[in-house]
């Protein structure tokens, strides 16, 4: 039996003992842990307020011990605005899926970014409506089969996939926008850094911080966890390139530089 000499990592203290209830191969559990780690590292666990919509990620409220509020479908950026205006000293963030953030809630999301709200949004893109059974989302890839596009998404009928991180980067009020995935250890570390940066922009009072995370949904994609990971690498990343799309220290500078 190996003796433990030095503990290099541990369960984040903010995480509760509640079980993680996501499907096998889902990456929301990784998001949960990273979020707890980042909140702890930034020392804002006691002063942050999280908002979730009606989605799979709503389980976060049982897994991380902070203040949580459930927003109406798509309205988290608006409710977060209300909270932030009342409690500017608190760190306010939303965790939203693609149906929530960019289907029903795109208008509220864009206006919150345009106002330059000091908020952070973690966007979980699994290219479908996960909780309701895998229907088409604005982020569904062309040709991808879902329960409402049984013959595959046809751009002539259903339109084109939405590139949210790029859209966020084009908004003047946004200080940080990036897209990452958990398909490799290197990308895992980059994703962690990006989540931290998106919070830091809020803490520094610069502007809206945004991170898009490509997450597999093996259950609704009808794949094994490994095939789903392969799908992320072969299909999703080519459509949704990873990287930082915006990282500014002042919204004014960004305006001047055009």
């Amino acid at each position: 039996m190996t003796q433990i000499k030095q503990k290099v990592t541990t369960r984040p203290q903010l995480m509760t003992k509640a079980p993680i209830t996501y499907c096998p191969g889902c990456h929301y559990g990784i998001v949960t842990r990273l979020l707890a780690e980042v909140l702890e590292e930034l020392g804002i666990g006691g002063t942050c307020i999280g908002l979730v919509g009606p989605s799979c990620s709503a389980s976060l409220q049982w897994n991380i011990y902070i203040d949580w509020m459930s927003a109406a479908h798509g309205r988290a950026p608006a409710s977060a605005t209300g909270i932030k205006r009342v409690r500017p000293e608190c760190t306010v963030f939303t965790v939203q899926g693609d149906g929530d953030l960019v289907s029903i809630g795109l208008g509220n999301f864009m206006h919150a970014m345009l106002r330059g709200e000091k908020l952070t949004t973690i966007f979980l893109n699994n290219a479908c409506f996960g909780q309701t059974g895998g229907q088409m989302a604005p982020t569904t890839l062309i040709g991808m089969r879902t329960t409402t596009t049984p013959l595959g998404r046809d751009e002539r009928k259903h339109g084109y996939p939405l590139h949210v991180a790029e859209l966020a980067a084009s908004m003047k009020g946004v200080a940080y926008s990036a897209r990452y995935s958990f398909n490799s250890p290197a990308n895992y570390r980059k994703a962690r850094k990006a989540i931290k940066a998106a919070f830091q922009k809020q803490l520094d009072g610069i502007g809206y911080g945004f991170v898009e995370l490509l997450c597999p949904c093996p259950t609704n994609w009808g794949m094994t966890p490994l095939d789903a990971l392969k799908f992320i690498e072969e299909r999703m990343i080519p459509e949704y390139p990873l990287g930082e799309f915006k990282n500014v220290d002042s919204l004014d500078a960004e305006v001047k530089n055009g």
Binding site: G45, G46, T47, C48, I49, L51, P54, A58, Q61, Y65, I66, D67, W68, M69, S70, A71, A72, R75, A78, S79, A80, T81, G82, I83, K84, R85, V86, R87, C90, G107, N108, H111
Partner: protein
């Protein structure tokens, strides 16, 4: 032409009121001033006629006293900002009208299920859809039965004068916080845009406990976390787990409100042989008609409803039985009349005078007191 029917303004000092300065303002401004007196410092307002004076006043005045006015992109954002601000423990308000109040219903339902207190003002305009931008009382059913899904209740206060607007807004904040419910102020175009003398009195209301459930970070609550979550918070904190327990909380809360918060005004009901039931701007018309009828020797009284929910069912039954006849005057196709019929239990004949009794075909039409008097004569 818009005709105003001014009631008698009294300046008698009543118990619980302090005499202060009086000013000449309209109902919309009275709501704003009432909200500021009540401690409202956050307002989210989207333009829609006839409530525009409210966001305009708040945009001008709130920043002067350290408050925040925000014009959101739509009514959905407005009501969800209210949800956030109220969940964070602040006193906040939104106002809207017509189409806007329909857009807000989803989140009103959501706030009701999470027991988040908030104040919503509906300056009613006539009709479904776009309707008109002028007066009407066609939102009664939506306001009192819960316009959204799921079967919840809102406390509904119906002002009939700018003074009422000023007072009821203070009361609305108090009741919302007391019961953790939505208070809906059901004003209408006529009340909103008529100016009268308003006494800027502060209601003396019982102190309320601190909002220890509010979102402010666990560090500010001794390490305890708040979950403002559909259906879950009350289960965990108050009754333990379970859907029956959650629904019991709704029932218990609503029963308490029905027992304690029923409000109405009786006007010349002593010895009345006909009772007019009305609310809001129509109640003023009813009162004037009652005066005219009394001058003719007809014994007519008015019951003006102040809380539309909780509905003054028992008091109405009592008054209706004494009078023996009821006339409902409401500027709609007949909505309040359903509740009145339900309350008097068919023991008393109920007649209805509504929007079809207006004096003009245009949206400026009103039910005139003379028209009400005709109805009274036909019933006497």
């Amino acid at each position: 032409m818009l005709t105003f029917y001014l009631g008698v303004i009294t300046f008698i000092k009543k118990d619980g009121y302090r005499m202060t300065e009086t000013i000449f303002i309209d109902g919309n401004e009275a709501i704003c001033r009432g909200s500021i007196v009540a401690g409202c410092r956050y307002f989210f307002g989207y333009p829609v006629t006839p409530q525009n004076e409210i966001p305009e006043f708040m945009a001008r005045e709130l920043p002067k006293i350290g408050g925040t006015f925000l014009q959101p992109e739509d009514e959905l954002a407005a009501i969800n900002m209210l949800y956030g601000a109220c969940a964070a423990g602040a006193r906040a308000m939104v106002s809207t009208s017509g189409v806007g109040i329909s857009l807000m219903q989803e989140t009103i339902s959501h706030m009701s299920t999470t027991f988040t207190p908030g104040v919503v003002v509906d300056v009613v305009r006539l009709g479904p859809g776009q309707g008109t931008i002028q007066t009407g009382q066609t939102d009664y059913r939506q306001a009192t039965k819960g316009g959204g899904h799921g079967g919840y209740r809102c406390i509904v206060l119906a002002p009939s004068s700018p003074q009422d607007c000023f007072d009821y807004t203070q009361l609305a904040f108090h009741l919302a916080d007391k019961y953790c419910m939505i208070s809906l102020i059901l004003s209408d175009f006529t009340v909103a845009r008529m100016a009268e003398t308003v006494e800027l009195r502060t209601l003396e209301l019982e102190p309320l406990p601190e909002k220890d459930w509010a979102l402010k970070g666990t560090a500010n609550k001794g390490g305890k976390n708040s979950l403002i979550i559909s259906g879950h918070r009350p289960m965990f904190e108050i009754y333990g787990l379970g859907i029956p327990a959650l629904f019991k909380r709704y029932t218990d809360t609503y029963r308490k409100v029905e027992e304690n918060e029923v409000r109405y005004e009786e006007y010349r009901t002593e010895g009345a042989e006909l009772l007019i039931v009305s609310y809001g701007s129509s109640a003023r018309i009813a009162k004037e008609a009652a005066d005219m009828a009394r001058d003719e020797g007809l014994k007519v009284g008015v019951m003006r409803l102040i809380t539309l929910w909780p509905f003054p069912k028992l008091a109405l039954r009592e008054l209706a039985r004494k009078a023996g006849k009821v006339l409902v005057v409401e500027d709609s196709q007949g909505q309040l009349v359903e509740d009145v019929e339900c309350a008097v239990l068919e023991s008393v004949p109920v007649k209805f005078l509504g929007v079809e009794g207006r004096h003009l075909d245009s949206p400026s039409g009103l039910i005139h007191p003379e028209r009400v008097l005709e109805e009274i004569r036909s019933m006497s």
